[in-house]
């Protein structure tokens, strides 16, 4: 018997956000699909116990997904790092500068983030949670969550700008090791 507040009454609106949250945490792909399905199955099992006073359906689902990810941590730790997973969905080979390049830039920046910051990206830009909801999920006050999001956004902007910044004219970058491949390719 489903209670009056069925958290899954409108699953179509929830599933994409749930998937994006998972994809930002563990990387887009089959693992993300599996975790999303698993979280949803768990949610179905416990939909009767959902308490609207403790958060929105989306926050509740994200919490379940976070536990699913935690349960699978040992397996997912072996997955390729996100920086290696460059998602490109550009239409043609000639689309060198627009969406495809943007995806590469974002993937590169996300790969540089700490686990904590990736979680924040997943909550804010994947699940589209508010600062209050982010705080509730992470066990922070709303104010602390806002500060954390502010710092994250500052870092994201800085990293994105850094990618396209020309090198300083006088700075001498030391020769990187590991580049001594054969002279020709």
């Amino acid at each position: 018997m489903i209670g009056r507040h069925d958290p899954l009454a409108d699953p179509r609106a929830l599933i994409p956000k749930l998937y994006r949250y998972v994809a930002y945490v563990i990387g887009d792909g089959p693992d993300a699909e599996d975790v999303t399905s698993e979280a949803f199955e768990r949610a179905l099992r416990y939909r009767d116990s959902y308490d609207p006073k403790r958060g929105s359906p989306l926050t509740w689902l994200v919490g379940i997904a976070a536990r699913c990810i935690s349960d699978r941590g040992a397996v997912l730790a072996r997955a390729p790092v996100p920086t290696a997973e460059m998602e490109l969905h550009a239409g043609t080979a000639d689309d060198f500068t627009d969406e495809a390049t943007l995806r590469l830039r974002v993937a590169t920046v996300l790969g540089e983030l700490s686990e904590r910051d990736r979680e924040l990206v997943a909550l804010r830009y994947g699940a589209d949670l508010t600062a209050r909801e982010v705080g509730a999920h992470l066990g922070l006050t709303t104010n602390a969550a806002e500060v954390a999001l502010h710092r994250l956004n500052r870092r994201l902007r800085s990293e994105l700008a850094e990618l396209d910044r020309p090198p300083p004219s006088k700075a001498v970058e030391p020769e990187r090791k590991g580049l001594d491949a054969p002279a020709g390719i």
């Binding site: 899954l8 699953p11 179509r12 599933i15 994409p16 998937y19 994006r20 930002y24 887009d28 792909g29 089959p30 699909e33 399905s37 949803f40 199955e41 179905l44 099992r45 939909r47 009767d48 072996r78 997955a79 390729p80 790092v81 290696a84 460059m86 998602e87 490109l88 969905h89 550009a90 043609t92 080979a93 000639d94 689309d95 060198f96 390049t101 943007l102 590469l104 830039r105 993937a107 990206v121 830009y125 994947g126 600062a131 500060v147 999001l149 502010h150 902007r157 994105l160 990618l163 020309p166 090198p167 700075a171 001498v172 970058e173 990187r176 580049l179 491949a181 002279a183 020709g184 390719i185």
Partner: protein, 420 residues
């Protein structure tokens, strides 16, 4: 403290690159949510099944069935195949045995008659062929004992025509089940010798070995040279295989492919358009779509880079300042390429405006340290980089670095030296 809310720029950016929800996921889960909860019925069914199992085991114990199952019905092999399965040893020649082995069957042994079973039991100490004709399945003593040791009393099913594998160049399904037909996952540890599945097929012309673990056929990576040496020495272990897939293949000759694996499932050689999962476990884009991850434009190995042309041409541009640096390279699969120009270890800026890639001239008015090029059509890329004024000096030595990251995240570096 509302500064964080000024993130509309980032929200717009992330909305452009947000992960694409897999096709059908929303519909599947929505349909699942619409069905009534089955928990209570499921629990009742489990209770019922448990009760019946107790009754069945009691009945079996009364006639010695459990003991029989534990000692004889260890392996069941079905169907026809041209594949030889060798556990942890070097490739052996395919054997042909004309006579069918005697089946071990509780009904046959006790009552002298056979049921309608299409399976044949194989003694663990025999190399057996399942059927006459051109097809044969052979399990060496090591194979049988090793697998059964992992799952006592289990049944090995070898199916040379696995479902949903139509059109493959060669395929075989090897799974272990319990007596009820439920598949028992078999995974070998790192120090164990892998199972070698030999398929009568060859790669080339877009064909590739793959392993299907339920989500789709994943490309098997080729064994490294070190692993191939261990195959020749007979010392290959599971830890020598790719750590992600726990599979690897090599071709002993032009007509056979050997897939080494540390788990049992469906093995096949398919054309690339039938692949659905890459060697690293990522789902492919639709075959022939041209999107990044198109399996027909994919290789499970790191990308191969080759310089096209013997030299780099340095010149000037008609309407823009700075120097042009023209060169070409070949890449054999889809990659994200990053082009960087080094001068004594220092990255030179590349002006996007005036830089030309495959005949397309870029117009962005920014300079970058690394030029990102998503190469969706593998082949030859001819580039003309524009280096801002005053950066290239006559007689100085430079080099162009090409970093190619393929769909699996494998990185390949290439370097082209040139003189200003």
């Amino acid at each position: 403290m509302n500064r964080w809310r000024k993130d509309s720029d980032l929200k717009r950016l992330f909305s452009k690159v947000e992960p694409q929800v897999p096709e059908g996921l929303v519909e599947r889960l929505t349909a699942r949510a619409a069905r009534p909860s089955t928990t209570r019925w499921a629990m009742r069914r489990v209770a019922l099944a448990g009760g019946l199992s107790v009754v069945l085991l009691t009945a079996l114990a009364a006639v010695g069935g459990i003991s029989y199952a534990g000692t004889l019905a260890k392996d069941i092999v079905t169907g026809q195949t041209v594949h030889r399965i060798v556990f942890g040893s070097r490739l052996s020649q395919k054997e042909q045995v004309s006579a069918l082995p005697q089946a071990h069957n509780a009904a046959l042994d006790q009552y002298g008659q056979s049921g309608n079973e299409t399976t044949q039991a194989v003694k663990p100490d025999q190399t057996q062929t399942v059927s006459a004709g051109t097809s044969s399945v052979a399990i060496t003593p090591d194979a049988a004992s090793a697998i059964v040791a992992a799952a006592p009393g289990a049944l090995i099913h070898v199916d040379p025509t696995p479902p949903n594998q139509a059109g493959n160049l060669a395929a075989v399904s090897i799974v272990v089940t319990n007596a009820q037909g439920t598949i028992i996952p078999i995974t070998l540890s790192g120090d164990q010798k892998p199972l070698a599945v030999t398929l009568a097929a060859s790669t080339g012309d877009g064909a590739i070995p793959c392993v299907d673990s339920g989500n789709g056929c994943a490309a098997a990576p080729e064994l490294t040279d070190a692993a191939k040496a261990k195959v020749a020495a007979g010392t290959l272990t599971c830890s020598d295989l790719d750590s992600t897939t726990r599979d690897g293949y090599y071709e002993p000759d032009a007509s056979h492919v050997v897939i080494f694996t540390c788990h049992l499932t469906v093995f096949a050689v398919v054309t690339k358009d039938k692949l659905s999962i890459s060697a690293s476990g990522r789902k492919f884009a639709p075959a022939g779509s041209g999107k990044f991850g198109d399996p027909t434009l994919y290789s499970p190995q790191p990308a191969q880079l080759k310089q096209v042309g013997s030299s780099v041409t340095v010149g000037s541009l008609k309407s823009l300042s700075g120097h042009s640096v023209s060169f070409g390279f070949f890449v054999n699969e889809q990659v994200a390429a990053y082009i960087t120009v080094f001068a004594k270890g220092k990255k030179l800026p590349i002006a996007l405006k005036g830089t030309m890639i495959r005949g397309t001239t870029l117009t962005n008015k920014v300079d970058v340290k690394a030029l990102h090029i998503p190469v969706l059509k593998p082949g030859t890329l001819k580039l003309r980089l524009r280096i801002p004024d005053g950066r290239l000096q006559p007689g100085e030595h430079y080099r162009i670095r090409i970093l190619a990251i393929d769909y699996d995240g494998n990185k390949t570096y290439g370097f082209i030296p040139f003189t200003g």
